[in-house]
């Protein structure tokens, strides 16, 4: 039985297969409408989420399956003090697959140790968010037509931004990838990713503070939100939250084939005036997220559609 804890759980070949399946689902949705008939997805969300939870649920519904679950710790047995391991043992009796989001890092790993159904890590604190990474990879593949030889700009909260961490882990496995790390000093990429992932794999990277300096060099700009829930201190959050705002002026500095991605939700970091720019790919990204989660559910449940 397979789980998805980190984007590295899949080899590059397996990932290619998964992304190809997602592309086939997009091209031939009718073929998959009954692929998961009779199957149930449990969404165990211990912290608020709109996109990730609904995306998993939409994916399962599109495949003909059904969904159940909870959307906050308050409405689950966690409020009564139940452990993650006990919860997953219970849920394993009800569902065929589950997606778990938890504010504590490593919670889905605990779940998969006690689960008899595949567990999808749908985000664990500031640690990993592998299904967002799959979404990002499919978006990059679809807008650029390739996964290699690119300069990727990662902008915003690179310290706590789990989507960024997961994306870096996944992209370093492709050839010719370079990173421009755009962040304020306080939100720089953690050492363990800089040293153990970038330096260890000899991946070229540059750290800059000004977004304007990076724009002309990019193939992809991945914007992130400064997340209030990751700060222990309100003052630090207020100081950081509007550090970067992508607007029309800054977009003029970018190449014509540079695309902007964002895991959403956005707050102020991308001005709404950018939404009409053909290079704004963040809403397409949401749609690709559903296709890639459909492909993931099929893969983890080992369901093949001819």
């Amino acid at each position: 039985m397979r789980h998805l804890m980190s984007p590295l759980d899949f080899s590059v070949e397996e990932l290619d297969k998964l992304l190809n399946l997602a592309q086939d689902i997009e091209a031939n949705p009718a073929k998959y409408t009954h692929a998961c008939d009779g199957k149930k997805l449990a969404t165990l969300f211990y912290e608020p989420s709109t996109r990730t939870r609904l995306s998993h649920e939409a994916a399962m519904l599109n495949l003909g399956g059904s969904v159940m679950g909870f959307s906050s710790a308050d409405s689950s047995s966690a409020a009564k003090g139940e452990s993650v391991s006990d919860t997953i043992r219970t849920v394993s009796c009800y569902a065929d697959i589950c997606a778990m989001r938890h504010p504590k890092e490593g919670a889905p790993m605990v779940a998969c140790q006690h689960s008899s159904i595949p567990v999808i890590n749908a985000g664990d604190g500031g640690h990993q968010h592998p299904t967002q990474t799959l979404t990002d990879l499919l978006t990059i593949l679809n807008v650029k037509g390739r996964m290699n030889n690119m300069t990727i700009g990662l902008c915003g909260d690179l310290k706590f931004g789990r989507t960024v961490h997961s994306l870096i882990h996944a992209l370093v496995r492709y050839e010719g990838i370079r990173f421009l790390l755009i962040s304020p000093e306080e939100l720089r990429l953690p050492d363990y990713i800089r040293n153990d992932v970038l330096k260890k794999n000899n991946i070229p990277y540059e750290e800059v503070v000004r977004l304007e300096d990076a724009m002309p060099k990019l193939d992809i700009l991945y914007m992130t939100r400064v997340q209030k829930e990751r700060f222990f201190n309100e003052e630090d959050y207020v100081r950081m939250k509007d550090f970067y705002i992508l607007d029309k002026q800054k977009m003029k500095l970018a190449p014509k084939d540079m695309y902007v991605l964002h895991p959403l939700p956005r707050v102020n970091e991308i001005s709404v005036e950018v939404d009409d720019d053909p290079r704004a790919a963040y809403f397409k990204q949401v749609q690709y997220g559903v296709y890639v989660r459909m492909a993931l559910i099929l893969t983890l449940l080992d369901i093949h559609v001819d």
């Binding site: 890092e105 640690h127 363990y192």
Partner: protein, 144 residues
Amino acid sequence: MVNHTLNVGRISEGFVLDHIQAGKSMEIYKYLHLDKLDCCVAIIKNAKSSKMGKKDILKIECPIDIINLDILGFIDHNITVNIIQDEEVVEKKRLTLPKKIKNVIRCKNPRCITSIEQGLDQIFVLTDEKNETYRCKYCEEKYS
């Protein structure tokens, strides 16, 4: 004449942990859970050492299969482990860094699941042998 030499008798079966960094012996006593063993333990602190200036030594009289010494490699791989049987040193064990450490050190990351999940083992994995880096299995936070 008063004899000022401090003597600790020979042991028939067990371990002599030599070349422990001075002052670290109690830490090792704790890590090896020696307080839970019903056996004779001698702790020698600040013994003279030509190599180290001063050092600590632990002598543990016990069956040699009841203590897991793997953790010593994590604490200090310069420690010399002498295995004693019939009052003789039968083996000098070379210490290496253990690949995994279970329930010895705790993850300090307040965001880690180990901070709240009951009954969860504290597991650290050796991720970089050269730099002796251990990371929490769950949140990947580096132990420091």
